[in-house]
Symmetry: C4
Amino acid sequence: MSEKDSMTTVMDNNAQWQAAFYRLRSNKAFELFVVGIIIFSALVIGVKTYPLPDALLKAVIVMDWAITVIFLVEIVIRFLGEPDKKRFFRSGWNIFDTLIVVVSLIPIEDSEMALIGRLVRIFRVLRMVSIIPELRMLLNSLLKAMPQLGYVLLMMFIIFYIYAAIGSTFFASVNKELWGDIAVSLLTLFRVMTFEDWTDVMYETMKEYPLSWIYYLSFIFFTAFAFLNMIIGIVVNVLEEEHQRIAKEEAEAAGEATVQDLHREILELKALIIQQAPALARSEEEVGR
Amino acid sequence: MSEKDSMTTVMDNNAQWQAAFYRLRSNKAFELFVVGIIIFSALVIGVKTYPLPDALLKAVIVMDWAITVIFLVEIVIRFLGEPDKKRFFRSGWNIFDTLIVVVSLIPIEDSEMALIGRLVRIFRVLRMVSIIPELRMLLNSLLKAMPQLGYVLLMMFIIFYIYAAIGSTFFASVNKELWGDIAVSLLTLFRVMTFEDWTDVMYETMKEYPLSWIYYLSFIFFTAFAFLNMIIGIVVNVLEEEHQRIAKEEAEAAGEATVQDLHREILELKALIIQQAPALARSEEEVGR
Amino acid sequence: MSEKDSMTTVMDNNAQWQAAFYRLRSNKAFELFVVGIIIFSALVIGVKTYPLPDALLKAVIVMDWAITVIFLVEIVIRFLGEPDKKRFFRSGWNIFDTLIVVVSLIPIEDSEMALIGRLVRIFRVLRMVSIIPELRMLLNSLLKAMPQLGYVLLMMFIIFYIYAAIGSTFFASVNKELWGDIAVSLLTLFRVMTFEDWTDVMYETMKEYPLSWIYYLSFIFFTAFAFLNMIIGIVVNVLEEEHQRIAKEEAEAAGEATVQDLHREILELKALIIQQAPALARSEEEVGR
Amino acid sequence: MSEKDSMTTVMDNNAQWQAAFYRLRSNKAFELFVVGIIIFSALVIGVKTYPLPDALLKAVIVMDWAITVIFLVEIVIRFLGEPDKKRFFRSGWNIFDTLIVVVSLIPIEDSEMALIGRLVRIFRVLRMVSIIPELRMLLNSLLKAMPQLGYVLLMMFIIFYIYAAIGSTFFASVNKELWGDIAVSLLTLFRVMTFEDWTDVMYETMKEYPLSWIYYLSFIFFTAFAFLNMIIGIVVNVLEEEHQRIAKEEAEAAGEATVQDLHREILELKALIIQQAPALARSEEEVGR
């Protein structure tokens, strides 16, 4: 056998394997099995938060490794099943899945690193989103709505920052823990925005600055109004998209005429009548002669 | 009389009885009477929560039995009035009504069972929903909206679960009662989502983990955003249904022409003109001759 | 002068007076003056809540009487200016205004009655709504939205009642003040719905009934969902009305054609062409001869 | 050189300078630089809220002056670059920017004035809004929505005022700090509206007035309902504007026919056919002869 032939055979073999893996990963049962493993891994994470007898603790550690191995195998299958290897790592979810598995594989003894290991195991639950298409779509739609909120969030941050600067300038002497510097002031204002014991904060400063209720009420008014505007912005945006989608669907619906179709028809009619007009005119002339 | 004749007579009798019961249960006065009894049973339940003198307590027990008997009679009437006996138990509400009455009939002495007996009596108030069609429709529309929320609720549960796992991993040492295991962590996070003294929870963990405010703020942000999306999803859905309903109504409205009707009319016009064209052409030709 | 003539003169006089009063009450300056007096009366009410020196207190009492007299004069003017005396008391707002003034006139010494007198003076502020048409419209639209909410409110009350009955059955032993009877239980549940220290209530009952979190979470879920549905119901309703209003406006807009107009035009066109058809046919025939 | 010529030269020079400054201020890099300086000034404000070593404090004061000078130069450039000097001070934002810089320039030693100086430095952050057009638009849209809310806010204030007057009349004896006069009563009611420990307020008054829960529940109901109505009002308003904008866009879309266009076309068609009718009639007559 020539070297070239053997290469071709290898490639043919590869293509066959790839197709087999592709079929496997597209299999509904395979997907359900992976979802099942993710749920199981979530349960294992939950169980680990309870005080466990030693025997169960050992079992949990074994299960943990088994889950890691299964995830590794699954990702290898998905990678081998991918026709275009380069495209595999262009998907953010594939990179996320691979990272989670790779970090899980690193043996960690150090107590600080152990925490990171536990965190990584917790984030495995997010694989649910990468596996179930509906959840992936939901997350994408959430992310897509983000940039539209950008300027409103910037505006809100400016409001927060100005109020926090004023707050830490005037109220730092009243309560160091709430208004000590601009960072804690921002946190305090977020607390006020959620109405969490905000009157305790206000009554305290009102003892020294009796007019400070203006500060709190105006802040609540501004943030509530900005928030309201944000929601309305999203709703209007969503409705507009809906409107366009419906309009497009209606236009595409087979057999249904639109106003544009009517327009075309009427123009054709007109052309027809105009075409007849000279004929008539001529017939009239001829008759008239 | 032959056996067959007697059978027919019995069946005729049955049919007559059934028709009579059907008329009775369709009677508006009968329905109002049942609604009255349900309201009365609700009042009896309310009265029982107050400390009562012995005489009144006895009266209440008698009333309780009277209500049970009336409900039993009502259900028997509704069952006998049903033309198709099998269909009766296909309605969830009929099964619910029957169960409530049957369990009320079981005499219970055991203190633990007595509580269940009291619960069943409380659930009698729900019969209001089974009797008043508007409330039944309202509940159905609530239930119909459920599956659409399914994936958003799943997404929210994933967010909750991940944060609860992180919380019980890191904060269990800070406060066992709030972050001891994943179950109490989930409850604590629900509390944070409702803004209920959430800063107390945060300030406590911030003593040990000064950066834990990121945990709380990101959690609030994610859940608020997911919740917002959920509401928008429902609103868009409801509006879409409204839109389709209105479009359908408009199309069905007698005497009102739609764009499709116009299209048909114009096509007919065209056909007419084209039909005339050869005539004209011919007339032209003839005249020309 | 005959008696009849004198009667006519009196009636003419009356009509002249009535017209004069009508002009007065329709006067913009008169309306602004009354609004000013209402604002002044609101300020007087506000001032009375502060501890006042004796001199000012006497002045306030004098002002109070002056306001009452001005209101009396104003209502008499409005009554005399009304062309149809019977219609005057058909308007709820006129009755409200008259009642407020009449009760203000009754001299009250008794300390208990004095409180009612103060209340009536407070309700004078509501006269703002009866005077400014925009506020009257706003209130009317609020009241108009009420019946649509009827069944949702009934549904919510049923949910509240069932949970309150369950709560006072099980938790009365835990905390008499929160769950003692069905009335306080309803109040406690309203508190839980507003998320006001609801976890304090829950943690207390969870000590005795560890699973009582199901009770609270399901209650919050049901009420939040019902509330959401209520809002959506109102929004859809408002949008539908808007939609109909816009559609009507568009149809009424002069010079703007609707699809219905087009339909009519096309039908006329058809009639015209059909009318010509026999003419053509005839002309064709004649030519053919 | 005549005086007139020298004048012209000066004016030409001026025009050249003005054009140069106009180019500078329209430069994207210039704008980004100013935004950078504003962010830097915000950071300086933030840093000042922390306890600083003396060296850094001096550096901060220097930076503060540097920022003021840069802002001064920037405004001078923008003023000189303005073709129409009078128009410059018609823009509220230009006046705001100038004021901020001018007040920053005044040297202040007095401790009370120093606070105002610090406040002015904080408000520099607002220059972000005056520089970034998207934020300016956002703020304008917020301000534009204000008048529409006017009557609803007035209505809400009337509700608040009446309840505050009732509250300070009856509950002042219960708790002077919460219900002492109408001002603190208004603040307490705002607190109740935000559900902030409102049950503590209610339970206190219920000890003396057991029926005062009616006061609180009706107040919550009214404000919640008014607030709901306000939101719906804004949403409907926004949607209506959207609707009109879309309708206008559709009408303006080139090549797209509207119902109005169709109407025109059909009328022209009719005119054409009617025009032909006499011709036909005549041809018919002639032929008939």
